[in-house]
């Protein structure tokens, strides 16, 4: 009996292993990924990083410029998150099981959320750039659309977690829907929603680099300029400054979460 369990377990483990190996091999062949070259380049990149990817004295003079761009990027990350949050709030209220007027709105809100979440950020950035060119608005709008999809889903799930029992109980006491929403659902979801906002801001700071690279704005653009002119010392400074900003933001978020959740 016991032997059976072990054989079965071993069999399924082998099956999983085989499947994964086949998938890896298939993907490697398909993408023409050269495992040996990958490994050697990894170590070469490491050596290169240590020997030439560090800020030197000359690059430190660019620090003010880099910090200005970083500040802009952080402002835009916050603003795009907050503006998206307002719209997401309404979408989530319309769609959540606990606050919806009709089940149809759930399908609608989910659909809208899914659309914006799954649209590639690259497409937003590239197409917006055609009209808004290299202005900060391009970055703001691209991040806004991405945040909209993510926050809608996050808020909707937060409202759902409040639980239908609570809402049903309040309904039984004769409370009206707007009152239930404003007195029960929103207050109890508030900490979780703030936590999602902070998380979205962290994500947006990182994504801003990608958007900036593609559209020629913010800190991503600065990295691109240094990188393409082989000014690796200055480029490394951009990376270091970004890392510090992201880790600081993460630290602040975590300490806020520790208090509110």
């Amino acid at each position: 009996m016991q032997a059976d369990v072990f054989t079965k377990r071993r069999k399924s483990a082998l099956l999983l292993f085989g499947l994964l190996a086949a998938l890896t091999l298939g993907s490697a062949v398909l993408t023409r990924y050269d495992v040996a070259r990958g490994l050697t380049s990894f170590f070469r990149a490491f050596i290169w990083g240590v020997t030439s990817f560090y800020p030197d004295g000359k690059s430190m003079r660019r620090l003010p410029e880099i910090l200005t761009k970083l500040w802009d990027t952080m402002l835009i990350s916050v603003a795009s998150t907050m503006v998206a949050a307002i719209l997401s709030l309404f979408l989530a209220l319309a769609g959540s099981r606990t606050t919806r007027v009709h089940a149809f709105f759930t399908v609608l809100a989910r659909g809208i959320g899914s659309f914006f979440r799954n649209m590639p950020l690259v497409a937003w950035a590239m197409v917006l750039m055609l009209a808004f060119s290299q202005s900060s608005l391009t970055g703001f709008l691209a991040l806004f659309f991405g945040s909209l999809g993510f926050l809608t889903r996050a808020f909707m799930e937060t409202f759902d977690e409040v639980g239908e029992e609570v809402v049903d109980a309040l309904k039984a006491t004769g409370a009206a829907r707007p009152h239930i929403t404003s007195q029960a659902v929103l207050p109890s979801s508030m900490p979780q929603m703030v936590s999602w906002l902070l998380f979205m801001i962290e994500t947006n700071i990182r994504d801003a680099t990608l958007v900036g690279l593609l559209t020629g704005t913010g800190i991503g653009f600065l990295f691109d300029v240094y990188y393409k002119s082989f000014n690796y010392h200055a480029a490394s400074l951009v990376v270091i400054v970004t890392v510090i900003a992201v880790i600081a933001m993460e630290g602040i978020s975590n300490s806020v979460r520790r208090v509110i959740l």
Partner: protein, 280 residues
């Protein structure tokens, strides 16, 4: 996109136990919101349109997106080409997820507080926090200096970021395991490896699987982005060329629909997988 998904939603086990009045939590919630709102207002007030006519640009963008979504058309790229590029992008996502997961499994074990000494877990956690803080695209470009722009750099860079993400997720899943179970096994004389393979991994397997699949979804989105920004193979590069080089919005439409459809299928698969794992 580089989001960490439910990583952020995991309630901190330490936080739950911190004694403190509910009032303080409320105050901090409101202060946070107020600060963020103030930053937003300041940011919106000072955002510079840099000579762009905002109304005109908005109208143009709406028209551009109209073309993309209502008149998609295969032009330079046939529908089959687009499909092949999607498969290629999925290949990149699979490869980087598996590579990342293997390394993260080892690092996750070394980073879990109930399995490794404190000094080591701090080292591992600090290391992966650093990896995660650098945006994926920057990793790819850094590796591209040694490997050249293209798929090899993209695979290394994406795998690297995956390691940072999954190590944290795995380590936290392992830490959820009751300390008592490990103590009991230790008392029976089980070795570290036996504890890991007979108790820790089997009991957290469902979490590991759903985290890994979530990362696979993210890696698909990332692979698209790396195609556009770092010249990796796949549909992202076509998207970049169609919009940034040929200005062919109708083709952008076709590519966008392909990416969107794939991402939605992955999302539905992930949701199904999650509910099935929960039932178990």
């Amino acid at each position: 996109m580089d989001f960490e998904g439910p990583l952020a939603s995991r309630p901190n086990p330490v936080a739950r136990n911190t004694p403190g009045p509910d009032k303080r939590a409320k105050r901090v919630t409101w202060i946070t919101l107020a600060v963020l709102t103030a930053i937003t207002i300041y940011s919106l007030a000072t955002i510079s349109s840099e000579g762009v006519n905002v109304l005109q640009a908005t109208a143009d963008s709406v028209r551009n997106f109209g073309t993309i979504f209502f008149q998609p058309h295969a032009h330079r790229l046939t529908v089959w080409d687009a499909f092949a590029e999607i498969v290629m992008t999925l290949g990149l996502a699979i490869l980087t997820t598996i590579f990342g997961a293997i390394v993260a499994l080892v690092l996750g074990l070394l980073g879990a507080q109930n399995l490794a000494p404190k000094g080591l877990t701090n080292l591992v956690k600090g290391f992966v926090a650093f990896i995660r803080a650098v945006p994926t695209i920057l990793w790819v470009l850094i590796f591209a200096v040694a490997a050249g722009l293209g798929s090899t750099a993209a695979v290394i860079g994406l795998s690297f970021h995956t390691v940072g993400y999954l190590t944290k997720a795995y380590a936290e899943s392992f830490e959820d395991l009751d300390r008592g179970v490990i103590e009991a096994l230790k008392a029976t004389g089980a070795s570290w490896w036996q504890i890991v393979f007979q108790a820790v991994i089997p009991s957290s397997a469902t979490y590991l699987l759903s985290w890994t699949f979530l990362r696979f979804e993210i890696n698909f989105a990332n692979a698209v982005a790396m195609g556009a920004a770092a010249g990796a193979a796949g549909i992202g590069f076509d998207l970049f060329m169609a919009s940034g080089f040929y200005f062919d919005l109708r083709e952008v439409g076709l590519i966008t629909y392909f990416i969107l459809a794939t991402a939605v299928v992955l999302e539905i698969a992930a949701t199904r997988l999650k509910t099935r794992l929960k039932e178990k």
